[in-house]
């Protein structure tokens, strides 16, 4: 069953489960959880910002892993290529959201729309790496899968280097970045539960969307093949309009 990742019933169930979980999250994050002592209500953005950041890196990890599996001769298969592409598309989506949400959070809390610390800069570079990868995926031709796979692996090596070098360069807080702050031991009770629920919810959402995107990629690959076959058949028919009888010579 290489044209989808999950059994159809599982996929549908997961879709509904994600939706329900999201509704629960919204209630928890926007109503039940208390406002933060320092950040006020703006802290509620963390309940979407943290999970989208998690997904940004998870999706990229999946793309990198799938790319490696594609390149390894024993496991080479179109499945990995399609998975890499699907995950990358989700990755761009969630990385973009992470940056926007981070900015929306930073304005009321830090007073600025952007800061040049390791976490933010790494995420911005990650965004551009993804976008470049997707641009590469759109280019047809022989060796496309291999090209994209190698590009993904080069990029995945780059991400920790960027993070490390920027962190070395400057940080906004002594204690580390946004991410560390929010997951520090000081979060208790409802806020901690909501945060973990948000990560779980978005992970379910990611798997569901990944399966859907993968399924679409399989369908479109099948359609391309059929369109190609049809075009070839039409061309052959053009070149040979009169049917040749058995035994006849041209």
């Amino acid at each position: 069953m290489s044209d989808r990742l999950l059994h159809p019933r599982v996929a549908t169930g997961l879709g509904f489960a994600s939706l329900a979980a999201l509704v629960v999250l919204a209630i928890l994050a926007l109503d039940v959880a208390p406002p933060d002592a320092v950040q006020g209500d703006a802290q509620r953005l963390m309940y979407v910002h943290v999970p989208t950041a998690w997904l940004a890196y998870l999706a990229f990890g999946v793309t990198a892993l799938a790319s490696a599996l594609y390149l390894w001769p024993r496991t080479r298969s179109a499945v990995w290529d399609r998975l890499a592409g699907a995950s990358a598309e989700l990755g761009v989506l969630f990385t973009g959201l992470t940056l926007i949400l981070g900015s929306l959070w930073g304005r009321p809390v830090w007073g600025i729309w952007w800061a040049w610390d390791a976490r933010l800069v790494s995420t911005a570079v990650l965004f551009f790496l993804y976008v470049g990868y997707l641009a590469l995926r759109r280019i047809p031709g022989a060796g496309r899968e291999k090209r994209c796979a190698i590009a993904a692996l080069i990029a995945v090596v780059d991400v920790p280097i960027v993070h490390f070098s920027v962190e070395w360069w400057r940080t906004l807080h002594q204690q580390g970045t946004v991410f560390n702050q929010e997951l520090s031991a000081e979060i208790h009770g409802t806020m901690a539960v909501t945060l973990w629920w948000s990560v779980l919810t978005f992970t379910l959402l990611y798997v569901y969307l990944l399966d859907r995107r993968y399924r679409l990629a399989s369908l479109e690959a099948g359609r391309e093949e059929r369109e190609l076959a049809t075009a070839i058949a039409e061309r052959l028919a053009e070149a040979d309009p009169e049917p040749v009888e058995a035994g006849a010579t041209r």
Partner: protein, 224 residues
């Protein structure tokens, strides 16, 4: 043939082509020069900003010129089935990679010497710690040349090569930019001790991408 002989062969070929066509000399170097000038227009020399931002601007100009140098490195093989010739030559993929990267690196080094002098004079910058500067320049250049050559071959046969390589390459060489600028700043401010750690980072990145290039170049060349 040994890796070193093959590398020298390929590098020699590229450099000889440059010696005859003089594209780097008459096109890429002037491009770098104009970029340096334009920065001065953008930043108003009377405000005293230029000396402070000189290291960063220098490396941006080098990076932009490197895009052209990499593009040129693969353009020379675009016609007359030259790339097929390279594939069929029996040369090892790693050697071709090292040779092409070395040629690009040497061209960039020459460019950096000229641009560096220009920046020092035009932006009124005094450079101390010449050893730091030299090692920064070498490690950063190797990093950019190897990464550029790797993406160059990845895009080699594609019609969108010219617009694709920049968008792929620049995010990946961001750490090189960062390290080179910080190390250069340390040299300009006369505190070389702050620069050496960055040179270490540059050397690490250079080694990493050299290794990756040696592995990936051959397979990528097969696909072009």
């Amino acid at each position: 043939m040994s890796l070193l002989r093959e590398t020298a062969l390929v590098a020699g070929k590229d450099l000889r082509i440059e010696a005859r066509s003089r594209v780097a000399l008459y096109q890429i170097l002037p491009f770098g020069g104009v970029v340096i000038l334009l920065f001065a227009f953008a930043l108003d020399p009377d405000r005293g900003i230029l000396p402070r931002v000189a290291p960063g601007l220098f490396w941006v100009a080098v990076l932009l010129a490197a895009l052209l140098a990499v593009s040129r490195s693969f353009a020379v093989e675009a016609g007359n089935g030259a790339r097929d010739g390279l594939r069929l030559s029996g040369l090892d993929g790693s050697s071709i990679f090292l040779g092409k990267a070395a040629a690009v690196a040497l061209e960039l080094l020459a460019l950096e010497i000229v641009l560096g002098v220009a920046v020092a004079l035009l932006y009124d910058v005094e450079v101390h710690a010449p050893v730091l500067v030299a090692l920064t320049v070498v490690t950063a250049t190797v990093g950019v040349a190897t990464t550029g050559t790797l993406y160059g071959v990845l895009a080699a046969g594609l019609r969108v090569r010219e617009t694709l390589v920049p968008v792929l390459l620049l995010p990946v060489v961001a750490p090189v930019m960062l390290g080179a600028t910080r190390a250069s700043e340390a040299a300009v401010e006369g505190v070389p001790s702050e620069g050496w750690p960055w040179v270490a980072l540059l050397a690490l990145v250079a080694a990493l991408y050299t290794g990756m290039g040696m592995l990936a170049f051959g397979p990528l060349l097969e696909e072009t």
